[in-house]
């Protein structure tokens, strides 16, 4: 758990756009995972399995609290690593305005470097859907960044 909690927290923040909710979802997800540990297939990556549980918890939270699926604009979805800070801020703000599904697939692809096949497993969708979802998410991001300029 210790090994994954910081990474999982960053993922939950990217989905929920709010650290307090992310912590709640993460706590519930760890409990769910603990209870379902006997159903974990050891041939599969633990984090990939856990991410599915975490994602379900995040969506449940989004649904139950009837929150808008946009993140708070001041939430930190990105950090610059030697890059341009203005660019990080602009991209972070644009991501916060996107729909959850778009923000999720873009960050998994561009920040975690997941391949289409890995995205397909992680998100539980066919590769064809990964392709189109990623394409439309990029179009949304482009429009959002363009609108801010």
């Amino acid at each position: 758990m210790e090994r994954y909690q910081n990474q999982a927290m960053a993922h939950a923040v990217a989905i929920l756009g709010n650290p307090t909710d992310a912590e709640d979802a993460l706590q519930e997800a760890f409990l769910d995972a603990y209870r379902a540990l006997d159903r974990f297939d050891e041939g599969r990556s633990f984090y990939s399995w856990f991410y599915t549980i975490l994602r379900n918890r995040c969506w449940k939270l989004l649904g139950s609290r009837n929150r808008p699926d946009r993140a708070a604009e001041n939430v930190e979805i990105l950090a610059a690593s030697g890059g341009n800070l203005d660019q990080t801020l602009a991209l972070g703000e644009a991501l916060a305005r996107l729909q959850v599904e778009s923000r999720e697939i873009l960050t998994l692809r561009h920040l975690d470097g997941l391949s289409y096949e890995e995205l397909s497993v992680r998100l539980g969708i066919p590769i064809g859907t990964v392709m189109s979802r990623l394409f439309y998410a990029r179009k949304q991001l482009q429009a959002t960044l363009g609108g801010k300029r």
């Binding site: 910081n6 990474q7 960053a10 993922h11 409990l31 610059a80 561009h110 394409f135």
Partner: protein, 101 residues
């Protein structure tokens, strides 16, 4: 295929992935379709905005709270009807519905 489908396939190719149609077919389409070529060029340019970005470092320690939750005794399984009279009402309704008089 529609232009939108060509664009999705061309982006997959640009990402180094296996598109649903051949590379040659995509390249041929991009040579002949200015609209698609422009969209792909713009999206490839957009990809550079991700350079040098990473996820923020999040430090959380959820273990004490989780440990606390695990130590708590399991909640009893409450029945949907808490009082005897409401159970009897429910049973009567079911008996009536299924014709047991």
């Amino acid at each position: 295929m529609t232009c939108e489908e060509w664009r999705v396939a061309a982006m997959a190719l640009a990402d180094g992935e296996m598109p649903p149609v051949s590379r040659a077919a995509i390249e041929t389409h991009l040579v002949t379709c200015d609209g698609c070529r422009r969209v792909i060029e713009e999206l490839q340019e957009l990809a550079s905005t991700w350079d040098g970005q990473r996820r923020p470092d999040c430090y959380v320690d959820l273990w004490p709270a989780i440990q606390d939750r695990l130590r708590r005794p399991k909640r009893p399984c409450w029945l949907p009807y808490s009082s005897l009279s409401s159970w009897l009402t429910w049973l009567r309704t079911q008996a009536w519905r299924y014709g047991c008089k």
